[in-house]
């Protein structure tokens, strides 16, 4: 331990992604003194990040953020950091830097549906959340205000019962030419007794100036970087937290242990600096918001032989268990007419039709996205693959240009996102392998459940009907149910689920751990089930709700009403 005296705060927040940043901002705005412990570096310089992106060939999620400076290892590709126990590889990763994974996210902010919160009572599968859609709904509105969400009120008034009590803060991001082309041809189509409708996807992406940030200019590089900050990233709230004067960001500080006192309270957060020295931060309350894998890992690492032998907050044995992801698949289509991909955000519309229905008793819900990124995600990816093959065929001049134009402008990708049920054996444990900082890596066991696989064949039939309605050609699909044939969505969920019963959950509906009354967990760790909604908006809603609970119950301080 270092000679520094312990740093004392009111609240210690571990992780400065969207969850930790929102909690820190709300509490600090009320004068509560907050330390934010962030494993990664402090603020990203956007221009440098764009330059790194430009120079990267693979343009992976972490390409703009690879940090050449010394510091904690950024968990980049899954193979370098996860210890994959199998039988399938867990594919979704995250960023370690102030602001977290929302630096590289697409920005989609659909809400979970009422049925998603009550899968067990509605369809007899999975478990129920300890909170309903109706209870969370006002917080969804607050989260949309805080992040700045653009959406279509005429479309989203009551999708699958997900009523709205307030309009979207901003009008919808304009759909792409490709979206309109598809919608004209498939809106109103009846498939499996449900009616297709293409809806503009709600997104934390400015459709007008908002919160001091510009509107989207269609840079089309949202994943992995918005050059202008039109797309929300968690640093917006890190910055706001710091601006209150009551929050202190300790970056390049990896939390390695939560210490317990004799009454079972968390009395310290030990963190490790790049030189491997350690220090300790103390607070009346600790909020763990390090993303689902790291939060579970930290709780397990903090096992205390007397006080918490299975890990902090783990009397249920569920810490690390029921890890989930959204399993994604892509279908590559050649359209009859040009659809002009690579313009606008990578996706602006989707099909919400099959996110709910009686079929969920037998197979997973299905969310389809219409994408504007052509065949970028094919292997090899366009447009470089198309250009190279034309050049290799000896083309040049205007013939080359015509060929490239004809090939790429007719490329469409329709993607599928499906839910994974909570399975106890899908879990994070501690590996005996260590990372570059000498800290145990996470060992991840994962298998796509049968419930999810059972959805792929129906999905292929739905896509087939869409492609026929477009008079298009399905060029490649990988809706195989065989193991390993999927892509991770980047949605790391589960591992510290919320619930009503301390024997079957890690936290209550506010994220307060059952075992330690001053330890809260925020983020998608809390997910008991995952539906088919990108998790960030729900993360934000729950985090705002938890911040209010902490302020009220621990500090007896009301929080100010506005969320902007």
């Amino acid at each position: 331990m270092s000679a520094d005296p312990a740093r004392r705060f009111d609240v210690v927040v571990i992780g400065s992604g969207v969850a930790g940043a929102l909690v820190a901002w709300r509490l600090a705005s009320a004068g509560i003194r907050v330390a934010i412990i962030e494993a990664g570096g402090a603020e990203v310089r956007r221009d440098a990040a764009v330059s790194r992106y430009g120079q990267s060939v693979g343009k992976s999620l972490g390409a703009p953020y690879v940090d050449a400076a010394t510091g904690p290892e950024n968990p980049g590709p899954a193979e370098q950091y996860y210890d994959q126990a199998g039988p399938e590889n867990y594919l979704s990763t995250y960023e370690r830097l102030a602001g977290g994974s929302t630096w590289h996210w697409l920005g989609h902010t659909p809400r979970l549906l009422p049925s998603d919160f009550a899968l067990q009572s509605t369809y007899g599968v999975g478990v129920d959340w300890p909170i309903s859609y109706a209870q969370l709904e006002p917080w969804y509105c607050a989260a949309e205000t805080a992040l700045g969400v653009a959406g279509d009120d005429t479309q989203w008034g009551n999708v699958h019962g997900a009523f709205r009590s307030a309009p979207f803060p901003m009008p919808p991001i304009w759909p792409s030419w490709s979206d309109d082309y598809v919608a004209r041809r498939i809106d109103g189509l009846s498939i499996r007794g449900q009616t297709l409708q293409v809806l503009a996807t709600p997104a934390a992406r400015n459709s007008k100036p908002y919160d001091g940030r510009p509107p989207c200019a269609g840079n089309a590089s949202c994943v992995p970087i918005c050059p202008i900050g039109a797309k929300y990233d968690g640093y917006v709230h890190v910055r706001k937290a710091l601006a209150t004067g009551h929050a202190h960001l300790i970056s390049r500080a990896i939390a390695v242990r939560l210490t317990l006192d004799e009454s079972g309270h968390i009395d310290g957060v030990v963190y490790q600096r790049p030189d491997r020295s350690t220090a300790i931060a103390r607070g009346r309350v600790v909020v763990l918001a390090a993303n689902a894998i790291e939060s579970a890992k930290l709780l397990l690492l903090s096992a205390d032989a007397q006080r918490a032998p299975a890990g902090v907050a783990n009397s249920s044995g569920l810490v690390g268990r029921c890890l989930m992801d959204h399993v994604q698949k892509s279908v590559f289509v050649r359209t009859r007419d040009p659809v002009y991909p690579f313009r606008g955000p990578p996706s602006t519309s989707g099909i919400e039709t099959f996110r709910d229905g009686p079929f969920r008793a037998t197979h997973s819900a299905l969310r389809f996205s219409l994408n504007n990124d052509g065949w970028l995600r094919r292997r090899p990816g366009s447009p470089v693959a198309d250009v190279q093959s034309a050049i290799d065929a000896g083309m040049f001049g205007s013939a080359l240009r015509r060929t490239i134009f004809a090939a790429v402008t007719h490329q469409l990708r329709i993607s599928l996102s499906t839910e994974v049920l909570p399975e106890p054996d899908n879990r994070v444990t501690l590996s005996d392998k260590r990372d570059a900082d000498g800290i145990p890596r996470p060992r991840i066991a994962f298998r796509v459940p049968e419930y999810t696989r059972a959805g792929f064949a129906p999905a292929l039939r739905i896509v087939g009907e869409i492609v026929a309605a477009l008079d298009a050609t399905l060029v490649e699909e990988d809706l195989s149910a065989a193991p390993g044939h999927y892509v991770g969505a980047g949605h790391v969920m589960g591992g510290c689920r919320m619930g009503t019963d301390p024997r079957r959950a890690v936290t209550d509906a506010f994220g307060r751990t059952f075992d330690h009354e001053n330890l809260y967990i925020c983020g998608a760790s809390l997910w008991p089930t995952c539906g088919t909604a990108n998790p960030t908006l729900t993360v934000a809603a729950l985090s705002l709700r938890t911040a209010e609970a902490i302020a009220a119950t621990v500090f007896r301080r009301p929080l100010a009403g506005g969320f902007l």
């Binding site: 430009g54 304009w174 459709s207 509107p215 606008g344 040049f396 001049g397």
Partner: protein
């Protein structure tokens, strides 16, 4: 201003490149690039950068030798593209050189023997011709107004 057959037919670009062998395009790289890419209004700074990249990659002498083949094509020909096409067909080394030139202009990439494709400069990615060829811009370098993606591209892009 001397206009050779090939460069004249390629329709001098915005900077007024006057053809291979002239001071503005001494080695002919600019004129060759215009014909190969089918784009007359190439940026001269980009061209200088690409020429240097290829010179470094291939070596000064091999680079110069391939361009010499292009400069020796008869000027005043009725169909300069056909003359070039004939050269491409009979000279495998030149055809390989032409493919490197095209790949660099269109994708911004160069092949490295051990490390696969790479961008020598980040600008090479942003300046790649594939993007205007499909009516778009390089991701992360939009010059479009909000909502432009709802409309088709403004200009025909070779279609």
């Amino acid at each position: 201003m001397v206009t050779g057959g090939l460069a004249g037919a390629a329709d001098a670009g915005a900077e007024g490149s006057a053809g291979p062998g002239t001071p503005a395009d001494a080695d002919g790289f600019f004129a060759l690039s215009q014909i190969l890419t089918g784009v007359s209004s190439l940026g001269t700074a980009v061209a200088r950068r690409h020429a240097q990249t290829l010179r470094t990659q291939l070596g000064d002498a091999p680079f110069a030798a391939e361009l010499q083949k292009f400069r020796k094509l008869p000027s005043g020909s009725q169909d300069p593209a056909a003359a070039l096409e004939a050269l491409l067909a009979r000279d495998a080394a030149f055809a390989g050189f032409a493919r490197l030139v095209l790949t660099l202009w269109y994708t911004g990439l160069v092949q490295t023997p051990d490390a696969g494709p790479r961008f020598v400069h980040p600008e090479d990615y942003f300046d790649a011709l594939v993007w205007p060829a499909i009516g778009a811009h390089a991701p992360a370098s939009s010059d479009g107004y909000y909502g432009h993606w709802r409309l088709p591209p403004d200009s025909g892009s070779g279609a």
